[in-house]
Structure formats: C-alpha cells, structure tokens
C-alpha cells in the first residue's frame, strides 16, 4: 500500500491509496483523477498516462523499459522525470510519492 499524490496541471491535488501491485495509472483511473487518460488500459501502447515524477522519488520508481522509453520519446512536453504511469508498479517503498500531470495527454 502506498499513498500517492497526483497534482493536476492547475495545481489541484488528489491523494489516493494504491494497493501494492497496481500501477500508478490504475489508481488514478479507478479514482477518476482528471488528466490521466490511459486509453490503452496499461498496455504501454498509447502514451496517454504521461506523468512527471517528483525528482525525490524518481530513483524509487525503477528503470524504464525500452518500450516505455520509446513511447515517451514521442509524447508532448517530455522531461527527464517523465514516466508512463502504467509502467510504475506500486510498492511499499513508493508510499508518499508525488507525481505531476501534464496539461494534456493528446
């Protein structure tokens, strides 16, 4: 279990508990957090769950797969701390993680 803080582009915060094993995307979608579209439902096929991981948490989210790296390369507004939320699996170690959402996923 981990507490996740999602911060919308306009600064609105959403804090939700995520079960270990789910992804940061799934917790957002199941709680109707605006700003994460996740069109493909977590298949790493669409790059519409782009988030900016708070730099303090970046190391704990693990490495990007080649697929994720490649999809992100073509998303809008990519930064060094960009991730696809569907590829970040929740662990106890992520308790307290903060992610910021881009203005648009499309």
């Amino acid at each position: 279990m981990a507490k996740i803080t999602y911060i919308e582009h306009d600064g609105t915060e959403h804090v939700h508990d995520g079960k270990t094993g789910l992804s940061v995307m799934e917790v957002a979608v199941k709680n109707n957090v605006p700003g994460i579209d996740a069109d493909c439902g977590g298949a790493c096929a669409c790059a519409t769950c782009h988030v900016y991981v708070d730099p303090a948490w970046l190391d704990k989210t693990g490495d990007k797969s080649a697929m994720e790296e490649s999809m992100l390369d073509f998303a809008e507004g990519v930064e060094p701390n960009s991730r696809l939320a569907c590829q970040i699996k929740i662990t106890d170690g992520l308790d307290g993680i903060v992610v910021r959402l881009p203005e648009s996923q499309h």
């Binding site: 789910l22 799934e26 979608v29 199941k30 709680n31 109707n32 605006p34 579209d37 069109d39 493909c40 439902g41 298949a43 790493c44 096929a45 669409c46 790059a47 697929m67 490649s70 999809m71 390369d73 073509f74 499309h106």
Partner: protein, 410 residues
C-alpha cells in the same frame, strides 16, 4: 449546453458508457446520471479478455474501469442486468427490460456490438464459444488448459490473440480461415504472413481457404469442426471470431437514422437532438478519409464519450483524434494508426525478419495508415503524419538510418 440538472441516461455499460458516466462527474455535471447495463457487473475493459486476463495475468479487479462503489459514491445510478427495450422520443422515456421506465433529458446509446453467430448446424453445442463479454471469457478460460485443442473459426485479431493465449496456457490451437490468408479483412499481406509465421513458430496450426459448414458433437458437446471439403478438425472447444454487428435495433425501432450502425455526426449526435450515440454501435464521420464508417475500438469509444461529456457540460468540443488500435500476441506488440483506405502503395520500413518493422500505407505522399510491429516511433510519428496530412519523402521513410523524427520534420 444542456441544463445543469439534466438527467442523462446512458444505455449500455461498456467501455464507452462507463467512461462517459465518469467523465460527466469529472467535468462537473450536476444532474442525475443513470447507467443501464445488460451485464451483471460494472463497466470493464474488454481488450484484456483475449490477452492478459485470459493468460491469468490480470484479475477482475484490474479489468473494472472503476470499483463498484465508485458509482454510488459519485451519484451514478448504475443498473446492472437490465436492457433498454424501447424509446419514446416524444415523452423522452426509455423503457427497460424489467418493465420499468426512465425519463431522460439526454439519452446516450452505448449499446455496442455483438459477435456474429454462424447460422450452421451445431452452432449451439456446448463448447462452441464466442468472446465479447467477461462471461464469454470465463467460459473460454474454463475450457482451455494443457492438452485441450481449441479450433478458432476466423483468423482475425480476436481469434489470433486467443490462440496466442491458449498456447501460453498449454493448449493446442488451430485457426480456420475462409479467406486465402489470415487478417484478410483488416491487414495487408506482409502483416498477415508475419503473424502466421509467428504463430506457427509457437505451434499454432492454420488452415486457410477453409469454409466451416458445421460443428460436430457428442452428447451435446462439440468434438469437431466440419469443413466444406469434408474434413473434420477435431477439437475440445471452438471459438468463433468472425466479426461483429452493431446493436442498433433500439435506435432503429425509435426511428433514428441507422445505416450499418447508428448514424452520428462529429459530436456523436444522432438525428434526434436529445439523443447521442457512442462507441462500437455508431457509424461516424472520419474527415481524414472523407467517409463515414463504424470503428470497433476503445480509442473511438473514449473519443466519443469525451465529445458527449463536453457537449453536455458546455465545454468546447475536443479536437478530432487520429484513430488507432493495438494488439498483443506473444512478445509482439502491434500498434495500428489510421485505416487503410484509398492507398496506392504499401511501404515496409525495417526488416520483418528482425521482428521490428512498420508498414506504411500511402496515398500519393500522404500516410493513410501504419501498422507498427514492436516499433513505437513509427506508430507515434505515423499517427501524427496521418492526422496532419503532411506529405512525406518516401525514400527517407523507407530508410531506417533516417529517424522517424527526421522523416516527419522533412
């Protein structure tokens, strides 16, 4: 914009209907929202039913779009196990299969599509299955397992995904395709032969040009598939995946415009201003291709749900999206952007033997569609090129030493 306290009734609780209900609350609609679904469970994702879920890599909880308590918690009146059976457009009332009625201010048809059933002998035997709903998927999963043989009638994406999952579960799979090649209706020859080879490597057998004439059974249970040439293919179960038809009867009987789907405009409006339609049931315009057609895809369902949520809550209409879809089989990720209409050339970028390549379908120097195998850059840039209609340099497009960003920038 609709009045803020309008009662929105959504008929059909699939990906489109479920997404719309959630978006209405996300966008701040204050009025009542009723979501009517034929199935006993709240809206869920169908794509994993033939992929991750079937292989046991995803559970029911992860399939659900939202947890059940989300609906009550967000004042969405979710009514499972009930169908819309009639629309009185004058009184603005929807009649339900349980005999009750729902008065609406705005009605949204999200009734989806249903698998085509083959009108041939034995189609009602136990073990002759289809794959659309979670219940279908449960039945399929229960029938699969080591040592079982699944005959797949129809070499389309659903059948192929199920075959890949069956192999992962230790079952044998034989695909029976009426056309000379698999994926004949939806893909070109390069992709067809790539997928056939990939599946054969994993032990799937294929019979093409195979016209299925009936199912054989013993004691009410399927034991084989009969072909027109007299062959009988032994099996323990048969999965029929030969396409789907829109559930348009409700709209048709209400006198709405239908034409192989409920006819809608670019804002998902039907011919009645109080009624929208979204998802697989719709026949919609696609300006990129200058034609109307019916798309059976999650991205289309989401796009139309967004259009309706914006219209109801007075937000500006969202920008049009370039259609896309995906398929996962074994370690192959297929991403398709666009539809292959009116192309005069198909160009392969990369070597199919490498397992990483993309097929660009071109009309002159414009990209109409791209099928990308394990090639996200080709998919992502191809999708942008389809939407922008920008001409491409074909020589550079075919040259993998020129990156997709450089191709698109030229």
């Amino acid at each position: 914009m609709t009045s803020a306290d309008a009662h929105v009734v959504i008929v059909g609780a699939g990906h489109a209907g479920g997404t719309l209900a959630a978006l209405l609350r996300q966008y701040g609609h204050a009025g009542a929202v009723t979501l009517v679904g034929e199935e006993p469970i709240p809206p869920y994702q169908r794509p994993p039913l033939s992929k991750a879920w079937l292989k046991g890599e995803a559970d029911a909880e992860s399939l659900a779009l939202k947890p059940l308590e989300f609906y009550a918690g967000n004042r969405i009146d979710f009514r499972p196990s009930v169908r819309g059976v009639g629309i009185d457009r004058v009184r603005k009332v929807l009649a339900l299969s349980d005999g009750s009625e729902l008065a609406y201010d705005v009605l949204v048809l999200a009734t989806g599509a249903r698998p085509i059933r083959l009108p041939i002998p034995g189609a009602d035997l136990d073990g002759v299955l289809e794959l659309r709903t979670a219940a279908d998927a449960e039945a399929l999963k229960a029938a699969l397992g080591p040592g079982r043989t699944m005959a797949v009638v129809g070499g389309g994406y659903i059948g192929l995904e199920a075959a890949a999952s069956a192999r992962a579960l230790g079952a044998d799979a034989v695909v029976l395709e009426r056309e000379p090649r698999i994926l004949a209706r939806v893909a070109g020859e390069v992709l067809s032969s790539f997928f056939r080879q990939a599946h054969e490597t994993h032990g799937v057998r294929f019979l093409t040009g195979a016209s299925v004439t009936g199912f054989r059974g013993e004691g009410g249970k399927v034991t084989g598939v009969e072909l027109a040439d007299g062959q009988v293919i032994d099996c323990d179960l048969a999965l029929v995946g030969v396409g789907a038809v829109p559930n348009q009867e409700l709209a048709q009987e209400a006198g709405l415009a239908v034409n192989r789907g409920v006819v809608v405009d670019l804002g998902a409006r039907t011919s009645d201003p109080a009624i929208f339609a979204i998802g697989d049931v719709t026949l919609r315009p696609m300006p990129i291709y200058g034609r109307d057609f019916r798309m059976e895809s999650v991205p289309n369902a989401l796009e139309q749900a967004k259009q309706v949520a914006c219209a109801i809550t007075g937000r500006p209409a969202p920008a049009g999206e370039t259609p896309w879809q995906w398929s996962d089989q074994y370690d192959i990720k297929l991403q398709i952007a666009g539809y292959n209409f009116d192309s005069d050339q198909s160009l392969v970028r990369g070597d199919p033997a490498s397992g990483h390549f993309a097929i660009f379908h071109l009309k002159g120097d414009q990209v109409q569609a791209v099928e990308a195998i394990n090639s996200p850059p080709e998919f992502m840039m191809g999708r942008q090129l389809i939407g922008s209609r920008r001409p491409v340099d074909k020589q550079r497009l075919a040259d993998t030493s020129v990156s997709m960003k450089e191709v698109a920038a030229a």
